[in-house]
Amino acid sequence: MTNENYQNTDEEIQELESRLKTLKQQSRGDKGNPYTIPVAILVAGVLIAGAVFYSAGNSTNPQTASVGNNIPQQAPPPSFGSGSSDNVKPVSSEDHIRGNPNAPVKIVEFSDFECPFCKRFHPTMQQVMEEYGKDGKVAWIYRHFPLDQLHPVKARKEAVAAECAGELGGNDAFWKYTDRFFELTPSNNQTDIDTVLPQIAREIGLDATKFNACLGSGKYNDHVESDYQDSLASGGTGTPYSVVIAPNGKTFAITGAQPYASVKSIIELALKEK
């Protein structure tokens, strides 16, 4: 055999080995890699987690959004999870404030009258005012966040009713109405609003005729919607959602009906932020 023949044989062996390798790879591909499914699930999980954290952590302010050559665009409405507690609308005389309006710490609560967790959180906030409201350290500000998808029609109408109570009887009547509503109603969209709303108005000493006229006029629909948009811009994704504002303006967002001890911890921390 010549050297050339040996060389040809080597080349043939290499080619055969290469084909064998390809066939093995194809064979493994046909059977399916045993790790494909778990790895795919893991990757999917990471993607989902990324999406969740991206959507939850995105603090872009939609109100100031602009593109391209600095031409202001019409700001899209804020969506769930797109806001930040730093965007909360400043507390003003238009708000419903319980306690000292000039308190160093302000808690802006975004709430839904049909939410069972808001009903549960209401006594927690009352307890906060018992401890911190008397000496003017904390003010409680109530804003509406009716979750229409979960509590259609009723939550929004009840928010309007509370505003009507405020119009007819002042700030004190607004809070009496709110306290009594959470005390009396079962939440989860089970309130008989045609009966209960005028009933509470009468109980707290309001003129039922004027109250019903206000309720039917829709004059506070825009106000409730404005609160709703503020809650989205402030990072609210569910109710109750509370933004604790420290004396230096730093904000702490509390999601859900957290226990009194947690709220107290945040208040104490906020009081130190001067």
Binding site: I37, I41, G57, T239, F252, A253, G256, P259
Partner: protein, 183 residues
């Protein structure tokens, strides 16, 4: 068979501790989940002392009573316990056989974890994890259409984790020899 496998695994304190620690970690995660941003802010705060930070973190665990319904608290605790058991059993099996568990078991574990994570986010009004995710794809209203408002994912998590434990228990009890096919 499952009882025998559980006895086999948890006769060792090591696996008992692993299950306990993992289960507790899942429980803590589910209680903290709605307020991860707040937790980060408090932990990073220079004005809060270490004691303040720890007090706050521990206080949030009380949300299982205030921020969950009885039903959601039940399946959240069930998911945490099952997840701990599952992890301990998979680790036991892995160490026993010194090889990766078969794909079905791993897939079921991941499936249980993912559906469990969706489920444990369902606290307060408005699903906290699933809501933002669905709103990304314009399906935020989907939760309202579900009969249990998204809590189905928690139930699915309990089911998948139970199934995963069953599969792992079966593998643990499988003999380490080949079966002879008899005609």
């Amino acid at each position: 068979m499952i009882i025998a496998a559980l006895k086999q695994v948890f006769s060792s304190v090591r696996y008992l501790a692993l299950a306990g620690v993992t289960g507790f970690a899942v429980f803590v995660f589910s209680a903290w989940l709605p307020n991860l941003g707040l937790i980060a802010k408090v932990v990073r705060s220079s004005t809060a002392s270490l004691s303040d930070k720890l007090t706050f973190l521990v206080s949030l665990l009380g949300s299982i009573q205030t921020n969950f319904t009885f039903f959601s608290a039940s399946y959240t605790i069930a998911i945490a316990a099952l997840f701990g058991i599952n992890v301990a059993m998979v680790v036991y099996y892995f160490e026993q056989r010194k090889q990766l568990v078969k794909q079905a078991g791993v897939a079921a574990s991941f499936g249980g974890l993912m559906s469990g994570i969706f489920g444990i986010g369902c606290a307060a009004c408005g699903t906290l994890v699933l809501g933002p995710l669905l709103s990304l794809v314009g399906a935020g209203g989907l939760i309202a259409l579900l009969p249990f408002g998204g809590q189905e994912f928690g139930i699915a998590g309990v089911g998948l984790l139970s199934f995963s434990i069953f599969l792992t228990a079966k593998k643990i009890r499988d003999p380490l020899v080949c079966n002879i096919n008899s005609k």
